[in-house]
């Protein structure tokens, strides 16, 4: 985090590299710009994965550790954020929050896309403050909390001056970093816009830290950091690839040699230099590059990575096969996960198993 503050001179947009989304980015950034927000983020309503994830025993909840997200009436301002893991039994909501925003909509089941717009002074604050290690689990909840609490130095009062000096390194407050522009604050003072009605205070109650969230209702937004989401994203790709990315490229690559085109489903993707034998049916699958698939193979709902060899007469359903694996003749696999470089014996029958080498560690 330290080198970032020296590099960046302006506000930053932070993205997680496992994010796949087609959100209109200007929605998130416009919230950040228009309201002069401290942080603005993206979230999406999580949905249940419909199919079984290979190698997984039993069903799992879509959002594992629930986040409680509180938004205001407009659905844009982020008022409250807490993770189930941090709470014991009760959800604590501060009175100052309820005094300023009497109506709070609490939502669970939202997935954080880990896309944040941060102001420059937040980056400076991070550089100075070593105690915050994680952006998502520490900094963002801290900023959300700080919206409704005043700066620490104001509350401490003037009699504890010596204690102040000792505590200075520890009690670094975001308010000491917030930079205000005096002329820029004249204009909203003369403007008649207010985000709240019914009380006597000005817009935002004069609060300088403001957090906003854009909740996507439709569209695609996946963070492929778990196996289930990875498979789900892969399954969505054939439907979205023509519309989104490359409308001219066919789903079946030109250099792929497919014996029977008719047996390949219309929503399957076959990568370049792949050979597919006769009487092989491929439905709803994604097949990588330089694969060799022999005759009379039935592939349904699978994800096959690059350079995999599948011999005659196999039947694969709902599997994930990693690079360089070899599946011998007559194998029957269902809901399996085959690690890379594995070699299965002929006529192997596996149901809902994970086959990996001992040197590979895979988290599910």
């Amino acid at each position: 985090m330290e080198p970032l503050s020296t590099v960046s001179q302006t506000d930053v947009l932070v993205l997680s590299c496992d994010l796949i989304t087609d959100v209109a980015l200007h929605e998130v950034v416009d919230l950040f710009r228009a309201h002069d927000a401290t942080v603005s983020m993206l979230m999406k309503k999580a949905h249940e994965p419909t199919e079984m994830i290979p190698g997984q025993k039993g069903k799992k909840k879509p959002v594992e550790q629930r986040d409680f997200i509180g938004v205001d009436d407009t659905g844009k301002r982020l008022l409250f954020m807490a993770n189930e893991a941090d709470l014991d039994e009760e959800l604590v909501i501060k009175r100052s929050l309820l005094q300023k925003h009497p109506r709070v909509h609490l939502r669970t089941g939202l997935v954080d896309a880990h896309l944040y717009c941060l102001k420059k002074y937040v980056v400076d604050f991070l550089a100075e403050n070593r105690s915050l290690t994680s952006l998502r689990s520490e900094l963002i909840p801290y900023l959300v909390r700080k919206q409704f609490s005043s700066a620490a130095c104001v509350r401490q009062g003037r009699d504890s001056k010596e204690q102040d000096q000792k505590k200075d390194e520890k009690s670094l407050d975001i308010y000491s970093f917030v930079k205000g522009d005096s002329l820029l604050e004249l204009a909203p003072d003369k403007s008649c816009w207010n985000n709240l009605r019914g009380d006597m205070s000005e817009a935002f109650h004069g609060g300088r830290v403001r957090c906003y969230v854009h909740i996507m209702t439709e569209g695609l937004c996946y963070r492929v950091n778990t196996l289930g989401l990875y498979i789900e994203a892969n399954r969505q790709v054939p439907k979205l690839l023509p519309a989104l990315l490359c409308p001219e490229e066919p789903l079946v690559h030109a250099s792929a040699q497919v014996a029977d085109r008719t047996l390949v489903g219309s929503d399957s993707i076959i990568g370049p230099s792949t050979q597919v034998g006769e009487k092989t049916s491929i439905k709803h699958s994604v097949i990588g590059t330089t694969c060799t698939i022999k005759d009379r193979v039935k592939i349904t709902n699978c994800i096959i990575m690059n350079s995999v060899t599948i011999e005659d007469g196999c039947s694969l359903q709902n599997c994930l096969i990693c690079h360089n694996a070899v599946i011998e003749k007559g194998a029957d696999l269902r809901d399996c996960l085959i690690g890379s470089g594995q070699r299965l014996e002929p006529k192997a029958k596996h149901l809902n198993e994970v086959i990996v080498g001992s040197e590979q560690l895979m988290e599910i």
Binding site: H26, V29, D30, A187, C192, N194, M200
Partner: protein
Amino acid sequence: MAARDGLSGVGPPLAGGQPAAPQGLSKEEKLQLRKEKKQQKKKRRDEMGQPADSPILGQPHTQLPVVKRVPEHVQVDDPAAQKRLAKKLERQQVPLRPDYGAKVNLFSHLHQYSRKVPLTQQMSIPAIAIHPAVVRLGLQYSQGLLNGSNARCLALLQVFRQVIRDYSTPPSEELSRDLVAKLKPYISFLNQCRPLSASMGNAIKYLKKEISGLSSTLREEEAKGKLQESIDKYVREKIQLAAEAISKYAFEKISDGDVILVYGCSSLVNRTLCDAHTKRAFRVIVVDSRPRLEGRDTLRRLVREGIRCTYVMITAISYVLPEVSKVLLGAHALLANGSVMSRVGTSQIALVSKAYNVPVLVCCETYKFCERVQTDSFVSNELDDPDDLILPRKGAQLGGWKENTSLRLLNLVYDVTPPELVDLVITDLGMIPCTSVPVVLRVKNVEQ
């Protein structure tokens, strides 16, 4: 013109001149020919005795009549004008904002935009062609977060101050010319987000004059510092000190026991009332209108100061006017024929007040005085998002207005009050009648 004369040979015969020569003349010969023609023309004019520049006697020689073109933002139903605008915006790399919804026929020459389709949708992130502070300002204008003539102008000047701070002259250019060229796309962008107000237009004119008037001997840092100082001076003198002066003048007109009627939210009127409250006892009636409901903010500010307020909708003004002693209004701009351009509804208040013989006072700083002349509210106005008229609750009747082809929604922003309905205009130069506005404009022009 001289070149054409030289090549076609039209005109009186030249004394010793050459006949119409074909295109085979060399450059130097053409230049020589042009020079000779010019000298002969000058000689002929001197012989006639009078310069033909100012045909009207008594008009000062320095002022030539300026041809004013109809601006493009009131020519939306003219396809040629819109094509020109689109070409200009493309050249400046500013996206064109599409119009939204069916417009009422009388106002089909104005733009009507939707708030839900911001201009930033068509721009890259981060914005490269337009300075990010300008993008943010445009977004705040189009979302309605910055309202009011003074607020918009202040924010604009602050953003331009930042633009000047971040600006660096390219190596082969001059600051005075390049900076003006740099500001043009920003102004087009802000215009696309929301049509510029008269106060903003005057501020931009002042800034452009200051930039062009910079001497080329100054270094870049000095020039930038000078510009920032002149912006600060403008803000201090024309906006802040003017507001103080107007507040003092208006205070003389407020007496104990007054009942003052105000409309909407005007930063100047609010300041006047808050300043006068400490020394005089009066009460205020705040009149409000849909869909903006700006009176709520006036109410909040006045009640916070402790002023006794009554809040009514504009439909109730004939009920409250019998008890009102004077009406205090703000203005968006004062036009050259003395008309007042202000929030829609102001002309109604002035009309009904006149019927009840209640004096109408308008507070307006001189920097909002505009050289335009308008006798009605149709020719130049602003159309706001028509969806604002739909009440946000279930079963709203106007919700499906787009499907109904014979229904059009109109959300006007400004209207024009004729000078006969206004009794006094309080400006920072003093208290003047409406008909003296052209005099002030003329004095301002001569000063500049």
